[in-house]
Each structure stands twice: as C-alpha cells, then as structure tokens.
Assembly symmetry: C2
Homo-oligomer: 258 residues x 2
C-alpha cells in the first residue's frame, strides 16, 4: 500500500443519514456500524476472521439502531467505514483512532503510521462524518427540535479472555441527566449499569463531547452486549424493549426540566 | 425580503483561511471580522451608522489578527459575514445568534425570525464556518502540531453609556491554563484582566467550547478595547506588544506540561 500523498487520492467517505425528515427528539448515531475496509487500505494486513471481529465494528449495532430509528421516529447517522481504518469515536491524536493493536489482535496496516497518513484518514473519514453529523444536529437545534444525542454501540461478551456480566451499559459525558433516566427505565431482566463496561474517563465519549456537550444537549452512549443482538431478529426484539425505555427517559427529562 | 425557502436560495459562506501552511502552534480565529451583510438580507432594516457600529462586527479585530498571524507564523480563520446576520460565536438556539436587539440598537430584520429562517442562516453561515474551522483544527491535530486556539475580538469602550476601564480581556472556557499564562505575560501598561468584560458564564465562549474544549486544546479568547486598535497602524502596534506575550504564554504552557 502506497501512502504517497494519500489525501490526494482518497475521496471523502460521507456519513450515511437515514430518516433525515424524522421529527423525534432523539438523534441516533452509530460510529461503528460497518466493517468495510475501503480498497485504499487493502486488508490492513489482517486475516478475514479479524476483519469481521468486534475490533472491526460493533456487531448488531446498526441493526439495533435502525430498529430504534423506526420505533422512535428518529434520524440515524451512521458510518460507512470500519473502525480499524478510523475509529470515529476517537480524536485524531487518540491512540485508538487508528490502532496498531486492538484487544488480542495486531493490525499490521496501522503500525508505524506516519503523520501524513494520520492526516489523510482524518480528512477522508473522520471530518466528513463529524461535519455531516454536526450539520444534522445544528439543523435540528435551529428548528427548535431540542435534539437528544444517543450513540448506539455493542461490546464483546468476552474481553481479554474474561466474560462480562453487564448486558446494557449506559455511558454519559459531563451531563448525566439523560443516562440516569435511561437507567431508571431500563428493561426488566436486562443487567443494566451506568458507565460500564467503561466510562468517559476511558476516553470513549468523543462523539458526545464533540456534538452534545458544547450545545448542552442531553445524551447517552448505549452499549449492548453483542451476543444479545447477534441477528437482525434479536436486534429488533431488543429494540422493542429499548424503545419504550428511551421514550420514558425522554419524558422523564421533560418533567425534570419543567 | 422574502424568506420563502431561504435555504434553497443562499449559497454557503465559507470561512476565509489565511496562512494555511503556517506551522506555528497558535491558530487564530476571528468570528466578528466583517460587517458585510450579504444582499439576501438587504440592510436588516438598519441605518448605515448601525451597520458599521460594533454591533455589526469587532472593529480592528481582523487587522489585529492578521498582524498577529504574520508575527506568530499562525494560520488565521475569519468570517466573511456580519454578526448581525449570524453571530458565529453563538449556537443556533442562543438569543444572540441573530439578535433582534443589540446594545442600544433594534435590528428590524431579525425581529420575529421564523424557525425556517433561523435554519437557513445556520446552514448558510454558521455551519460552513465552523466545519471549515473544524477541518483546519483536526488537520493540525492529526499532523501532531498541538494547536492552541486563540480567538480575537474587540469590545466597545462605552457600553450602555458606561465607559469600560479594562483594555485587554483574556477569557477562557473550562481550561484556564493558557489564559493565565497570557495574563502573566500581558504587555506592561495595558489594563489586562481575566474574564472581563465578560466570561464563559455569559455564554460568550461558544467557539472555544465547540473546537478547543472537546480536544482538550489550550485556548483563550482575547478581547481588545476597540479604541486601542482603531486603525491598521494601531492594530499593528498592538500586535507588536501582544505577539511576545503570546509566545511567552506558549512557552510557559510547555514548561507547565513538562
């Protein structure tokens, strides 16, 4: 793979926006929707197994986000490129943005990455996505739709060989109000926890920090254990459980604000 | 002025970027550089005097910013449109974004503004500027240039009939480190104060909140009393005094980080 003048060669990967005309308050974001590695980056030196593993994307997250978008009359903004090329929930200077190692996998195509290549990926993937997302959010703020930003993620049931008991993690940036409402209305029978399996202190709230916090928008990052949303049918069933939870959390927020 | 489908009629006003190739750490921003009211908004119902007053722009700020850019080897991003059409240092839902009244002036063209018109101005002016600024900042972060965001403003010596004694105000968002360094190295003989004539609590740090704070970038909003930079020669003389102050503040920051 040549990295000579890469920024000149790679066209921007725009965000995918679905239900743009939806008028619901919640705006759904799925930064790890895709495991697609564009041709410019070959296979990043990875075997097929790794390219489809949770290090490449959040399995089930897009299915869940789409099912929630339908149920909540929500706009959905999602990514067209694997997090292994650029992890959109990381700033360009965070090590995880283009990781040379992710959990137990080495990523040879990300080793010894140059500043120019870092810049090229930032321009080709990070900036188009976040500028498109910013456009949707500012548009909704201007129209008085009072958006609530909800990012949809999934996490692996076994991490570094250890099983995780938590099933539904609810993470917030500086404003915990919406996350606490979601927890208060979490579906029965789902092991639901605040700021697990990780939290803002781990640097995982970049999207919220960039788009929700500056506008003081209520927000949450929702993390589902991926074995619970492994098929489209399972994701739809989970959306049936989560949509009422999110609606109740919205209502709780309005009561709190009144 | 018709506001039917305004977003369809108005082409985006991109940010003006000067010294893009500059490699200095400081990135200068001037949101109130221009008093230009594009034809689409007529004269906003204002007399010529008001259209050139401090409510329309920050007199002297662009001259000062350009003089600093030369002295500091800094990239400069500035606005092409008057703050009366859209104040780029305000979010779309802040009342000051398209003010119907500014200090002692009514702005008839901003009275009873519709959601559609608010959205149209957001798309035509706010989003292009901030997306362009975001692109410059992320590009510099990716290249490892460790940018420091400095916004350049001026304020009126007499506000609501009362004279202001402060000459140089240094305002910060959540991280005060760079602002305190600037104050510590402020030019002798200049009445310099932290968080005057206003502060983040007054909602005036939107640009810093949007672009510096999410990336944990050192930052300051510099406010010069506009009678001190009323001519290009005065602005250049002020830049001669401020450039060493900012260089020393940068050096102090590095010492603090070591």
């Amino acid at each position: 793979m040549s990295t000579a003048q890469p920024s000149q060669m790679i066209a921007p990967f725009r965000a995918v926006v679905e239900n743009r005309a939806a008028s619901g308050r919640i705006l759904l974001v799925c930064e790890h929707a895709s495991h697609h590695i564009p041709a410019a980056w070959g296979d990043l030196g990875l075997a097929a197994e790794a390219r489809l593993a949770h290090i490449a994307w959040d399995p089930g997250a897009l299915d869940l986000a789409r099912a929630l978008a339908t149920r909540l009359n929500a706009c959905l903004v999602h990514a067209p490129v694997s997090r292994l090329v650029y992890d959109l929930n990381r700033a360009p200077d965070q090590p995880g943005a283009m990781p040379a190692r992710s959990e137990v996998f080495d990523v040879p195509g990300n080793e010894g990455i140059t500043a120019e290549e870092r810049d090229a990926r930032t321009r080709a993937i990070y900036l188009p996505f976040h500028d498109d997302l910013h456009d949707e959010i500012a548009h909704r703020i201007a129209l008085g739709l009072a958006p609530v930003i909800v990012t949809i993620h999934s996490f692996t049931p076994i991490y570094f060989g250890k099983p995780r008991a938590v099933e539904f993690g609810i993470i917030h940036d500086t404003d915990e109000s919406f996350a606490r409402e979601v927890l208060a209305h979490a579906p029965r029978g789902l092991d639901s926890r605040l700021n697990e399996p990780y939290s803002a202190a781990d640097g995982v709230t970049h999207t919220l920090r960039l788009h929700a916090t500056p506008y003081r928008l209520p927000h949450a990052m929702l993390e589902l254990r991926n074995d619970l949303i492994a098929t489209p049918a399972a994701a739809a069933a989970m959306a049936d459980r989560l949509a009422p939870c999110l609606s109740a959390a919205l209502a709780g927020l309005s009561v709190g604000a009144a």
